[in-house]
């Protein structure tokens, strides 16, 4: 471990991050909501601690090893979670547990909240909540496309030497830094387009920007208690569906489409095709179920709510126009399954990811095929490219760890006092980075025990860091030199 190099890195990171409080100060001054000093103090604390970490290690320029990568990536989310909690503690006087939960929920783009009365919050705090989601989304894209493939996490090797893979794309750019810049430009472009869409569909400028932040990041924080349902506007819901789906698609594919000025990369990519199919069939199924159970009057209304909720949950955004936990019969469980499926690899979405689900399904079919033809040799293919056995094992391992972690977290949450439905709901909401859960946590985590909240924080980090990156830190072999 190159601890001093890591410390230096985080010093620089904190110094940079302290700048992110500047827009919040601006918002506070603009709306004159008396919170500017909260952000000024947060900025100072962050900048000072950054400098404290950085200055003593000024000359440390050791190359980080792959093993350091796991530590850096995990600490990155933990540290930002803590720093992002400062305004909640100073401004809203939340206790540490609630503040960290809210902040981590933001950075991991989960969108679960412990705050009631969001409509009454000061503008600057609202802005801060939306902004941490946006920054978290930005971080995860670089993490998922540029860093995790290097670490070989859960089949992400497929993306090594980026996007070359899956659909035979050329490498995006030769260097990680350059790749990151391109990805951020795309992310920024999507955000601006989304904000414009919301504005044209009738939101105020503040809401449009705030919701654009949370939509493209597939986060799910809103500036209203009733979330998107507050507006009751089909136009706004349509814009939200489009950009949630865009945020849940692989950003490498966005990049290809943008560079070639064509939509062909979307149509050619097997993962995007699977993603689109899941969305379409999920929507039809949920809409039909809503219609037949009579939850909404009319088929169009059912389709509208079905499509919005499926997009919101498949991409793990968690915006609501209705509380899906209250929908009849099998619909909540269907949505929970969709939430486990998640968006595409290399996106801001959570869940297991369509890519891995596709590979697991193909692995299953191959097993059946082998029973019928024991002497046959077959290869799991994605598009026209063969997937190596190593990657398949890695995906299989990912899936097993993901499910086991989910089950153990459910048990732990039940031990902390939740009933089965609420505990399962809380795990779905956090590990899949969804936001809304079932039962007691259907819309808000405010009422649950602090232990549940900390378990939730852990679940969100596990989900965001693709399981392996976090869990490897608990393996003794990792620390042995």
């Amino acid at each position: 471990m190159h601890w001093r190099a890591i410390t230096r890195l985080f010093g620089i990171l904190l110094l940079l991050y302290s700048l992110s409080f500047v827009p919040s100060i601006g918002v506070a001054l603009f709306y004159d909501d008396q919170q500017w000093d909260v952000f000024a103090i947060s900025l100072l604390i962050t900048a000072c601690s950054g400098a404290l970490l950085w200055l003593p290690n000024f000359r440390q320029k050791d190359e980080l090893s792959l093993r350091d990568g796991f530590v850096v990536v995990t600490l990155f989310w933990v540290l930002l979670g803590v720093v992002g909690a400062l305004p909640f503690i100073l401004g809203l006087h939340l206790n540490v547990t609630d503040a960290v939960f809210e902040s981590v929920s933001g950075f991991t783009t989960t969108g679960a909240t412990v705050i009631y009365g969001i409509d009454q919050l000061p503008y600057s705090i609202l802005y801060h909540r939306q902004q941490i989601q946006w920054l978290g989304g930005m971080g995860i894209i670089v993490l998922a496309i540029a860093i995790l493939p290097l670490l070989g996490v859960g089949g992400m090797q497929l993306y090594r030497a980026e996007a070359s893979g899956v659909t035979k794309h050329e490498k995006m750019t030769p260097r990680i830094a350059q790749t990151a810049r391109v990805l951020w430009l795309i992310y920024l472009g999507l955000t601006i387009a989304c904000a414009l869409g919301f504005k044209l569909a009738g939101m105020t400028l503040f809401d449009a920007i705030g919701h654009a932040f949370a939509t493209v990041a597939t986060g799910g924080f809103s500036t209203h208690d009733a979330s998107i349902g507050h507006y009751d506007s089909p136009a706004i819901e349509l814009v939200a569906i489009v950009f949630m789906l865009a945020g849940g698609a692989n950003f490498a594919i966005h990049f290809m489409a943008w560079r070639r000025h064509s939509l062909a990369p979307y149509a050619d990519d097997p993962e995007i095709r699977g993603y689109a199919m899941i969305f379409l069939f999920g929507t039809l199924f949920v809409a039909a179920s809503l219609y037949w159970t009579g939850a909404y009057a009319g088929s169009l209304e059912s389709l509208r709510h079905g499509a919005f909720q499926v997009a919101s949950i498949l991409t793990s955004t968690g915006f609501g126009t209705a509380t899906f936990a209250d929908w009849p019969l099998h619909i909540p469980l269907t949505l929970v399954i969709l939430s486990f499926t998640g968006g595409c690899a290399g996106s801001t979405a959570g869940g297991i990811k369509v890519l891995r689900i596709l590979l697991l399904a193909k692995l299953g079919f191959r097993q059946l095929f082998h029973l019928a033809h024991p002497r046959a040799i077959s290869v799991v293919k994605l598009g026209s490219r063969a997937v190596s056995e190593n990657v398949l094992f890695s995906v299989w391992g990912f899936y097993v760890l993901y499910i086991i972690t989910s089950l153990l977290l459910t048990v732990a949450m039940m031990a902390a006092g939740l009933n089965l439905e609420s505990a399962f709901g809380a795990v779905v909401a956090t590990i899949n980075l969804l936001g809304p859960g079932l039962g007691e946590v259907a819309t808000n985590f405010a009422t649950v025990d602090p232990v549940v909240k900390w378990l939730g924080v852990f679940g969100m980090l596990v989900g965001r860091l693709e399981v392996f990156t976090l869990l490897i830190l608990f393996v003794p072999a990792f620390w042995r030199n």
Binding site: P374, R375, A376, I377, S378, K381, A386
Partner: protein, 457 residues
């Protein structure tokens, strides 16, 4: 004609053998003395030992006044470089080369005169796969060859008891298929050619060659054989280049299984084929054959590079009850031994390839040459030039042509039109003629017949 052949492998030596009988001066170059010695012992040719792409070796082989260079060593690169040298240093007029790697073949611009100057690319794998593909698409046929821009096909088949025409005179074919235009060009009975006419009575096991257009082939084949149901299940034994290409061509329309011995190769096959089932094992392994129900298969193609393995596994498949077995057999002596009895169709890659080469070696304006019956017979497409004065062909009707015995004009292409000639059909200038020679030795006479007198410019 002075011809230099680079490479004394299967194709090289078969071509040398075939051409040495036609008054050509042939020099064969190879790096292996034992191969050269073998050729020298049997054929009237010269041999040169050395690396085929080196200029001094080429000079020793007499490239300075050679008319044609045929580069068929087993290295694509050597073949291409040799053609380059022949062109740049010695201005050899005609250069033929075998290039196998698809990576080269997908860039035709590479073989332009100012790049890699190869006049004719020969790809035996491609010829063989197309050949097999034709056979599978047309059950009952032994061989299908394209002529006149694919407008007419020459089909070989074996008459079998149960066919409506077997035991009857050939003239009945016209009554049976009044609307079909076709021409039976030759019948081989116990390896002897019969010149067919209306009186000829068809016997079982006759090998019949006829010309017809593709859409009519099925109806004609059905006249000589009991009904052949279309094929569905194909087994390919051997996953080399030919096996892989064959599977690629067939897998969208047939249920294909491919058997390969090398596990590594199996993985690579599985990765590039879409619907084919790739089996790892020995093609002659009975438990594998039973487990994968080879007995239910319609066609068994043994296409590995080992003659003995191909023959034995095809025989085994035949014994298990596969409807049609075919095997690639390089050694021509084996072919006579097994074809027709032990297995249904024996393919010789060299024989299939040689036609493409002969087209460029023959004197006269040849469009296509196909070697048949292990090189004993030949079918050619030749263009008639000149007028009544300068040509011995143009302006004369078929009956007047002094064609050698056993030689038949089967079809004529005149501009857009295809004619199945009668006795009184008159040949015009620029006609393309499909001529069948039951005896290849008569080719020299046919060449002379089509030569244009010197006065013709």
């Amino acid at each position: 004609m002075k011809i230099i052949i680079l490479g004394a492998g299967q194709v090289g030596s078969t071509v040398a053998q075939s051409l040495s009988g036609e008054a050509n001066e042939i020099t064969v170059v190879d790096r292996k003395p034992e191969l050269l010695k073998e050729l020298q012992d049997h054929l009237d040719i010269r041999t040169v030992l050395g690396q085929a792409s080196h200029p001094d070796v080429l000079i020793e082989a007499g490239i300075e006044d050679a008319d044609l260079i045929l580069a068929v060593t087993n290295s694509d690169e050597t073949n291409m470089v040799a053609c380059q040298i022949a062109h740049s240093m010695f201005h050899t007029p005609t250069r033929l080369a075998r290039v196998r790697a698809p990576d080269y073949l997908v860039h035709p611009e590479l073989f332009a005169p100012d790049a890699v100057p190869v006049d004719v690319l020969i790809s035996p794998e491609e010829l063989v796969t197309t050949f097999v593909q034709h056979l599978i698409e047309q059950p009952g046929a032994l061989q299908i060859l394209d002529f006149l821009d694919n407008r007419v096909q020459l089909v070989a088949l074996c008459a079998e008891n149960g066919g409506p025409l077997v035991g009857k005179q050939l003239r009945n074919l016209g009554y049976r298929l009044p609307k079909v235009e076709l021409r039976v060009v030759a019948i081989f009975r116990r390896d002897r050619a019969i010149v067919p006419d209306g009186e000829t009575v068809i016997e079982a096991d006759d090998e019949i060659f006829f010309l017809a257009s593709r859409r009519n082939i099925h109806a004609v084949v059905a006249a000589f054989r009991p009904i052949d149901k279309p094929y569905h299940r194909i087994i390919i034994a051997g996953g080399g280049n030919i096996g892989k290409r064959l599977a690629e061509l067939l897998e969208s329309r047939y249920r294909v299984k491919i058997v390969e011995r090398n596990a590594e190769r199996c993985r690579s096959l599985a990765a590039s084929l879409r619907r084919t089932i790739v089996l790892h094992g020995d093609a002659s392994d009975v438990s594998l054959a039973k487990g994968e129900s080879f007995d239910q298969a319609d066609v068994y193609c043994a296409v590995s590079n080992d003659d003995e393995v191909n023959i034995l596994s095809a025989m085994l498949a035949k014994r298990m009850g596969v409807r049609k077995t075919l095997a690639i057999i390089n050694r021509s002596r084996y072919v006579d031994l097994v074809q027709g009895s032990a297995l249904d169709i024996a393919l010789s890659p060299a024989q299939i390839t040689i036609g493409a080469i002969l087209t460029h070696i023959r004197r006269g304006d040849f469009v296509a040459v196909h070697s048949l019956r292990r090189g004993a017979a030949e079918a050619i497409e030749i263009v008639a030039h000149g007028d009544h004065k300068t040509s011995r062909v143009v302006g004369r009707c078929i009956d007047e042509l002094p064609l050698p015995e056993g030689t038949t004009v089967g079809a004529i292409a005149r501009r857009e039109q295809v004619i199945f000639p009668q006795r009184d059909t008159v040949i015009e200038s620029e006609d393309h003629l499909v001529v069948f020679l039951a005896d290849k030795a008569k080719i020299v006479e046919v060449e002379k017949l089509f030569q244009v007198a010197v006065t013709y410019i």
